[in-house]
């Protein structure tokens, strides 16, 4: 450990959607490393420990070392020449950078999509259909006496959801913490999260919708046939017990994960759960909260929504925002081989998209912004190394409950921020195009 130590109090961890802002970091300024992250969970500790400064070139063009300026020029040329470019990712960067990324998509008439489309995108679609009763995490901490986790494994993906927000903490009307709450966990398999629950309900794979719909029926006083058990693996008695608890609690919450969205039924599953939460408000206070993944994926939803009116999968080729999941979402644009260039910011589709989509990424010019080398940066034509948000860069990040938090960086990076690179690309593309690109057939007046 070097001599030159600094302590940053109340820093924010951006690994997962919990966005905990109570990190006390001990930073070695000589080595540019975080030595200790007090209050961090196991994921947060790894996040802070592993984001030192690596010896990487500022940028690569076609695999060869380049300056940031050269790479900006190369990226701008790709984007200005593309006819159906895709801008994707954005969940692990600041809102300030996201804002510029959407501006580029608008300027060139491309598509902007975020990791939401392969995360809680279906919950976003469900939200558009039925709405949502929801709450900030502090309301759950202060009031929730019945907490139902559905289709998720927070112990491994969002550890402090349990300890900081929803299970063990004491709150204003939950003076005894864990003792004052009943915790239910619904999943297809036992996970390290299961022991945290008072009641574990194991459903058969692909039957979440049926279970949720049966619960809705029971809440509304309808009859459900005992054969539900054969279909779903859950007995009618268990469902009736859960319904009785849900109707009699004072403040109930569903915290649901990708067990619902990445599964058969997708948005129908999320919609059934959101509708169930709404139904329960006839009896008592109920809220539901999709448990969001990457640090600022919720910020991406917010930025894209306020700039365009839609949360993800937005295309600008006609000169205004259009939203159509399945048409303007990344997996589809790539699998159908429609995108002819891609700007990928702070995400790694080459590691988790379907095979056919990854294959198309190998065919088209790809630009990446990432602090680290990844399978996606490896296939990129232009790869920028950027500073890590929350560690080297300040800015705004939205917690999974839409609460915005300002980042307190720990030490400086020799690399530019995503916002700086994107701003340079935007300005260069604007110069190349002479302003925003107008779609063919745009009204003459609009062109003036």
């Amino acid at each position: 450990m070097g001599e030159n130590l600094k302590v940053v109090r109340d820093a924010t961890c951006t690994f997962c959607g919990c966005v905990c802002d109570d990190m006390h970091l001990t930073v070695d300024l000589d080595q540019k490393r975080i030595m200790k992250a007090e209050n961090a969970c196991i994921l947060g500790k790894a996040w802070f420990r592993e984001h030192g400064i690596e010896e990487r070139p500022l940028a690569l063009i076609g695999g060869r070392t380049a300056t940031t300026e050269e790479a900006v020029e190369a990226a701008a040329q790709i984007l200005a020449q593309a006819r159906f470019p895709l801008i994707y990712g954005l969940s692990d960067t600041t809102c300030e950078a996201q804002r510029v990324a959407v501006a580029i998509a608008d300027m060139i008439g491309g598509t902007v999509d975020t990791t939401t489309s392969v995360c809680h995108g279906p919950s976003g679609i469900a939200f558009e259909g039925v709405g949502e009763s929801t709450a900030s995490l502090g309301e759950i901490k202060n009031r929730a006496d019945l907490v139902v986790f559905w289709g998720g494994n927070p112990a491994e993906a969002h550890p402090r959801l349990f300890s900081r927000y929803a299970v063990t903490p004491k709150g204003m009307f939950i003076p005894n913490g864990r003792k004052d709450r009943t915790v239910v966990l619904v999943d297809v398999r036992r996970t390290p999260s299961t022991p945290a629950a008072d009641i574990f309900i194991q459903v058969k794979p692909r039957s979440d919708f049926e279970v949720l719909w049966a619960l809705r029926a029971l809440v509304k006083g309808r009859k459900v046939d005992p054969s539900i058990e054969r279909r779903t693996g859950v007995s009618l008695a268990v469902l009736e017990d859960l319904v009785a608890r849900m109707k009699s609690c004072r403040f109930g919450v569903f915290l649901f994960g990708m067990g619902l969205t990445m599964n058969r039924g997708r948005h129908f599953n999320s919609g059934a759960l959101l509708a169930l939460a709404t139904d329960l408000n006839e009896f008592t206070h109920w809220v539901a909260k999709p448990v969001r993944g990457h640090g600022n994926v919720t910020g991406a939803d917010n930025v894209v929504s306020w700039q365009t009116g839609f949360p993800f999968g937005v295309n600008f080729s006609r000169g205004y925002p259009r939203f159509n999941p399945g048409e303007f979402t990344s997996v589809d644009l790539l699998t159908r081989r429609e995108a002819d260039a891609a700007l990928i910011i702070a995400s790694d589709p080459a590691d988790n998209f379907p095979k056919a989509a990854i294959e198309h990424l190998r065919r088209i010019p790809v630009i990446t912004l990432d602090p680290k080398a990844t399978p996606t940066t490896q296939l990129a034509q232009v790869a920028f190394t950027t500073a890590t948000y929350g560690i080297n860069v300040s800015g705004t990040v939205y917690r999974m409950d839409d609460v915005p938090i300002t980042l307190r960086p720990a030490f400086e990076s020799p690399y530019p921020s995503d916002e700086q690179v994107l701003t340079a690309i935007r300005d260069r593309v604007r110069a190349l195009l002479g302003g925003n690109r107008l779609p063919a057939g745009a009204p003459v007046a609009a062109a003036s």
């Binding site: 809102c95 558009e128 929801t134 709450a135 000169g319 609460v403 925003n436």
Partner: protein
């Protein structure tokens, strides 16, 4: 800031300076109205046109967490109402909750240059400022929700009135807010903590607190007045939308006891109850409300008129939105914010054949037509709750054109008109000067914005120029020119430049000791660290602090720092 500019030959309506349609020059330089500009300055020939200060919306919902939820939940309203990008300006989408860029440009194309977002949770302040960053042209500010704040409740419950005032000042300052806002005081605690209950009278007990809405409202009016805020406490009364709520509204106004208070969207609070079997049906009590306001100069209100067609209910009054969900169809959003507020959103449509909707429409007009002091009963639709801001030109025509109004009255539910006094005020027509008061000069005065709402030397050069037209809806739909901070934003009815407006906020002093009271509460009951809560200056790249004139010192007499 634009080059110097001289507007000539226009009929000028500047009621704050007693100018009522006189043809005179208006000169602009460096973003301000000036007495003169060099002879070679650019000229705008406004012959046949009307020159007014830029419009000011005193109460609307255009940015922040609830607005973004309302955008997201209504994709169907965006698809057929789009904002095309131009070489210079960004694209967007409309509906009753437009995207940020569309909001700014569309307000500008109606001649509006300032707007106040009327309900922001303190935790959502940062989000609101981020959206403001992307809302072009307009100067903006927001009212911060404090009327369901549990720490402030605790202080009040313990009779710590001085600390309540300091804490209120702290909250205003650290969130960069413009004014304190009360929404259905006590209602959110009943909603979140008492199985979706609500407040029904000023004397209800607020959940587990030893408090009533009466005490809460009186205390905030007092604290707001002591802080000398440019705009007083902005109150959304209890019982919004309920038949018979007029008594609650009158009683709330009486609580001010001569001190300044602003009642928001008062149309929604002016209902009587029908006698007999149909007592759940509202009736109009606009006369009682207007009589009180006419005789109490300490009270001001914005009307919150209703216009037929699509709307979005979005409010910090969560139980109200839940009630309206029954009429709004299949979507409902509820969003609770820890220790601070509730929120409800319901897509909605006002229909002229529906008794209640027609009555609401009539009461909005009645209030404006019966009002004797246009400076204190100003224009709003509580956008988008009573209808979109895009319907303002039609509402202006309803006020200015009695023939048109009569024609429209023939189309609406006649039983509703029977229960209103609208037929009794058929004669009145608003003059252009009165329109300039209720949409510009009045809001500016109520907000304490001394540089806005008029065209005197030194005022902000926010100017709108309309072509005169018999059809007032057409006239106010598309000004020929709009000047913002001296820059020509709209010329020949079209956007010609982009512009970043200012953030208007207050920064009242408080005793720093109050942080010792607030911080422990954060440790226990918030999920964000106290140190991370205040909004820093990076979020207001273009901020303007409007001064306060406190009537009491910020530091208490007992403070040890005093010598």
């Amino acid at each position: 800031m634009g080059s110097p500019l001289r507007i000539v030959n226009g009929r000028v309506y500047d009621p704050a300076n007693g100018v009522n349609g006189a043809v005179q020059d208006v000169c602009v330089r460096d973003g301000k109205i000036v007495a003169d500009v060099p002879p070679d300055a650019k000229r705008i020939d406004a012959a046949g046109m009307v020159v007014m200060p830029g419009g000011i919306d005193i109460h609307c919902h255009i940015a922040g967490p609830k607005v973004n939820l309302a955008r997201k939940v209504q994709p169907e309203t965006h698809q057929d109402d789009v904002q095309l990008r131009t070489r210079l300006t960004r694209s967007g989408t409309g509906g009753t909750v437009p995207s940020t860029f569309a909001t700014g440009y569309r307000y500008a194309t109606l001649g509006y240059t300032t707007a106040m977002e009327a309900a922001v949770t303190p935790l959502g302040a940062r989000h609101t400022l981020e959206e403001f960053h992307d809302t072009p042209v307009l100067d903006k500010g927001f009212f911060v929700l404090v009327g369901n704040n549990l720490l402030l409740y605790r202080l009040l419950q313990e009779g710590r009135r001085e600390e309540l005032r300091h804490a209120l000042a702290w909250w205003l300052k650290v969130t960069k807010a413009y004014a304190p806002k009360l929404v259905n005081p006590g209602g959110d605690e009943m909603w979140k903590g008492q199985r979706n209950a609500n407040i029904t009278s000023l004397d209800d007990k607020i959940g587990s607190f030893d408090l009533t809405p009466r005490r809460v409202i009186a205390a905030f009016i007092e604290a707001g007045n002591e802080l000398g805020l440019p705009h007083p406490v902005h109150i959304h009364c209890n019982n919004l939308g309920h038949s018979g709520n007029v008594e609650t509204t009158l009683e709330t106004m009486r609580l001010a006891e001569g001190r300044r208070a602003h009642i928001a969207h008062i149309q929604f609070h002016s209902y009587g109850a029908a006698a007999g079997k149909s007592q759940s049906n509202p009736t109009s009590r606009a006369r009682d409300i207007i009589e009180y306001i006419n005789t109490h100069p300490n009270i001001s209100a914005d009307v919150g008129a209703v216009m037929f067609g699509p709307a979005t209910i979005m409010t910090g009054d969560a139980p109200l939105a839940y009630m309206l969900r029954r009429f709004g169809g299949n979507k409902w959003v509820n969003a609770d914010t820890e220790n601070e507020s509730g929120c409800g959103i319901v897509p909605f449509r006002y229909q002229d054949r529906v008794y209640t909707n027609a009555l609401q429409w009539a009461i909005g007009l009645e209030l404006l037509l019966l009002s004797e002091d246009p400076w204190r009963m100003v224009f709003s639709t509580d956008h988008p709750n009573g209808g979109s801001f895009m319907s303002y030109p039609r509402l202006i025509r309803l006020l200015m054109d009695r023939g048109y109004r009569k024609e429209q009255m023939a189309h609406v539910n006649q039983k509703a008109l029977d229960r209103s006094a609208l037929r009794d005020c058929q004669e009145r027509e608003y003059s252009l000067s009165e329109i300039a008061i209720i949409t510009r000069a009045g809001p500016a005065r109520l907000l304490g914005l001394t540089d806005k709402g008029h065209l005197g030397v030194g005022a902000d050069a926010d100017v709108t120029i309309y072509e005169e037209d018999e059809d007032k809806e057409k006239m106010f739909s598309a000004p020929r020119y709009v000047i913002k901070d001296g820059e020509l934003i709209i010329e020949d009815h079209e956007l010609r430049a982009d512009h970043q407006g200012r953030l208007l906020h207050v920064a009242p002093d408080y005793d720093p000791q109050i942080e010792q009271v607030i911080e422990p509460f954060f440790e226990d009951f918030y999920t964000i660290r106290f140190a991370n809560y205040p909004v820093d200056d990076r979020y207001v790249p273009n901020g303007q602090i409007i001064p306060t004139t406190p009537s009491v010192a910020a530091a208490p007499a007992t403070a040890g720092t005093r010598t």
